[in-house]
Subunit: 342 residues, 3 copies
């Protein structure tokens, strides 16, 4: 299937762009990848799948109404932060984090505004980082997510669930021993947690969605999740948090970003990505503790912070071969173009 | 009265610049607007009126001593953050927030240094945002205000008042019913709170001050304050906080900034400003909760954050017509120039 | 001794660069200064001296492996943040803050990764500030230090010491009277605290190290430390915190940075540096209180914040004569070049 075949279609075009938006959460500009990922969410909870669609549709529509750059809209770049913020608002205000709950009218209005704001935040962060050729990543989601999650607790019209309290390592017992489940569930759920899916099967389906577009991307995601899990085990993190994928989801994203997507894949960038994944695992714990007194979840802030620290100065290091965001497609393509252009 | 008539005067010039500085808090580069606003403060408390003058004089003088750009000084742009930081330091360290207290010698020295530092912070933030044609807004005040408010509590020589604790929605009862007072007092006090005046009459006088220079500006301020109040009521915010104008002051500023001042007024920017005002009302609550454990007030951080998120990326959206800060005068003028230049 | 004599040596070159790295913590690009400073650490604790060497070696090696700019490496600019982060991690996880403890294997691996990350953070912050001709200062250390200090507390494999709790003014009694010790110990320890040495003799040795390269630099450091101490005494800060040098170390760094190093020394910049030192003393207390609920130490964040606020906008003030970081050598040289070039 040629992946661009619906991108120009008058009606199906919008469907294509929003599916790409779902894929862009994990750097996959591919509608089929987005569809498989949505299926992964659906397996866990139809509510989350619907909410993800709502978020991506709202933020993409906002970009269209504001007359943003057509090319960026068509690549799904205005959609992925909207999808994430919608998922986060439901996840942290629902009685049951695992399945989510259908939002009230007030909550839906609130969530739609949050998703719309991510479109403006994306343009703003892209503007600020533009001169340095670094992408906004999921920072619009993290910023808007934090801002909107907190206010939730102060309005009577919105019921905050028990999970409005953050997921921090302190909530888990330290004396549970590690076992086989820790490993295969921890790694799978790490991928699932990127989309707030506390479900290891969803995680592996999402990984398949990534592989539809890029084998290297999927391999780096798996490697990153595994590194996050290994680091947490070696340094004695609490078993429950590891199995829930909390140490791994930022590591997985960092590994995908640095491992071939924003840096041409070679030995240097592979080691760089592994280093980033290790650091992300530690710093998830760090940011979780930092946010504890104010009761906010980490979201993907660790991934953004580590990746920015490691990428904004990229042109200072001649051992790395940067790929500007506007040219980043897949690790495979990035490397092919680089080798051809040398 | 020609508003520029004293700007070049050798002695009265400085008076003109500082009055413009008072007006610039609400984007009014007009000495008469500044004078009416000062009268609004005086009606509430002569102490606050004097402190406001002290702050604007110190930060304007600092700019003169450091040989800053004459044009910016003459427009009052180095003064408004100094006025606000002086007001905030008195408001949050006085026994009675409403009237303020005459500061001690140690406190006066402290306050003068804080006002002077806002001048440097203004130059720094203007430098950072320069390439993106976005103004520092009241960020110098927010930054310096937070930094200086906290240290206050640690020095024996400065007596911190009971209001050194932040104004957060939690301090108000949730079961008080809304009534007519909630509305006209809430909206008026929202304008007053921009200058830390917990007085609805002062608020309406300040609104008149704005109207002296720009009807659209005053209308947007009123609209923003009303939106903040409506949103808080619809979402069930605590009555006391709404009546005290706490949900509305950031909304009012956001509406003035986006509604014709930094964006040419048209249907798009009107909706954009309304959206910003709604979001500002929610996010005041959010930042208040964020700051609660560290005991800091929100100040106008919500307004700055929302306006920056919505403006820095402005050139990405062709539905908006940006007005660079150096050219922004009044909504009326901005629109006239734009229509003439098309 | 010609200070550049080993800089090009094939083997001793690396030693020269790392000693310069130690000196760069206090802006001294001079291996002999670095050596004297290391001696100052050794007098207090051989463990800290070794850890300082480990940190500077790791971050300098990381820069070499990543093929960073040779000139920056040779000036020790990739080393000083690594030295500081290594010292901080030991200081805040050791049973005894004063002497430090030999780290475990897990801690050593952790510390090495943190030091390596400062190299990337340095490149990133230098990139962001590049257009404004302002240096990253010790921000890479502050950022990475905070991130790594926190996670420490969450892993069983790393033992956190009692000092993992922050040094905040609240930990000290307010009723202890000031005496002669407060003064000479407070000022000396202020210099020592820059390197986490709670030892006033170390502080004065470090000052000698600075004087080896620049008399003005040493004088400004002493002046800054004295100002920090005086301000804390006048405003009634707790005696224990003053004697431990906590109010003075940020003031000392700010005074060195603004007093001749990044601004040509003249009456304006002298007053500017004094103002900065006063503000830094207050704001150390402010940031300490800000960080208290999350249990993090201030590190040198106050120095970075105040210096950035006062320098990034420097070109807006014609009363100041900026020295771009790439040309800043010593206050003496900066002034000589400026007077020659007029």
């Amino acid at each position: 299937m040629r992946i661009g075949q619906f991108q120009d279609h008058s009606v199906l075009g919008f469907v294509d762009w929003t599916l790409r938006g779902v894929g862009q959460v994990v750097f996959q500009n591919n509608p089929l990848a987005g569809l498989v990922i949505l299926a992964g969410l659906f397996v866990n909870s139809w509510i989350y799948a619907m909410i993800c669609v709502l978020g991506v549709v709202v933020s993409t529509l906002t970009a269209i109404v504001l007359k943003a750059d057509k090319a960026l809209i068509r690549e799904g770049l205005f959609g992925f932060n909207g999808a994430l913020v919608a998922l986060a608002l439901i996840a942290f205000t629902s009685e049951d984090f695992r399945t989510g709950a259908v939002p009230s009218v007030a909550m839906t209005f609130y969530l739609v505004c949050a998703a719309a704001l991510t479109t403006m935040a994306f343009a703003t962060i892209a503007t600020l980082l533009g001169p340095h050729k670094v992408a906004p990543l999921t920072m619009p989601f993290v910023l808007v997510g934090w801002l909107f999650l907190f206010a939730v607790l102060k309005f009577d019209a919105i019921e905050a669930g028990p999970m409005a309290k953050p997921i921090s390592p302190d909530q888990f017992a330290y004396d549970t021993p590690y076992n086989l489940n820790t490993w295969y569930m921890g790694i799978g759920t790490s991928i699932g947690q990127i989309f707030f899916q506390d479900n290891w099967i969803s995680g592996y389906i999402i990984l398949i969605g990534i592989a539809v577009n890029s084998r290297i991307g999927a391999a780096m995601g798996l490697l990153g999740a595994a590194i996050g899990t290994v680091v947490a085990v070696l340094f004695g993190g609490p078993e429950g948090a590891i199995r829930d994928g909390l140490f791994g989801y930022n590591s997985a994203l960092t590994a995908i970003a640095l491992g071939g997507f924003f840096l041409v894949m070679n030995w240097s960038s592979l080691f760089y990505a592994i280093f980033g994944a290790i650091v992300s695992a530690w710093l998830w714990a760090s940011i979780a503790i930092f946010l504890k007194p104010i009761g906010m979840p980490v979201l993907t802030s660790t991934f953004v912070l580590v990746t920015w620290i490691m990428l904004i100065g990229q042109y200072a290091f001649k051992a790395l071969v940067p790929v500007p965001p506007a040219e980043a497609t897949t690790p495979e393509d990035n490397r092919r173009r680089y080798l051809a252009g040398r």
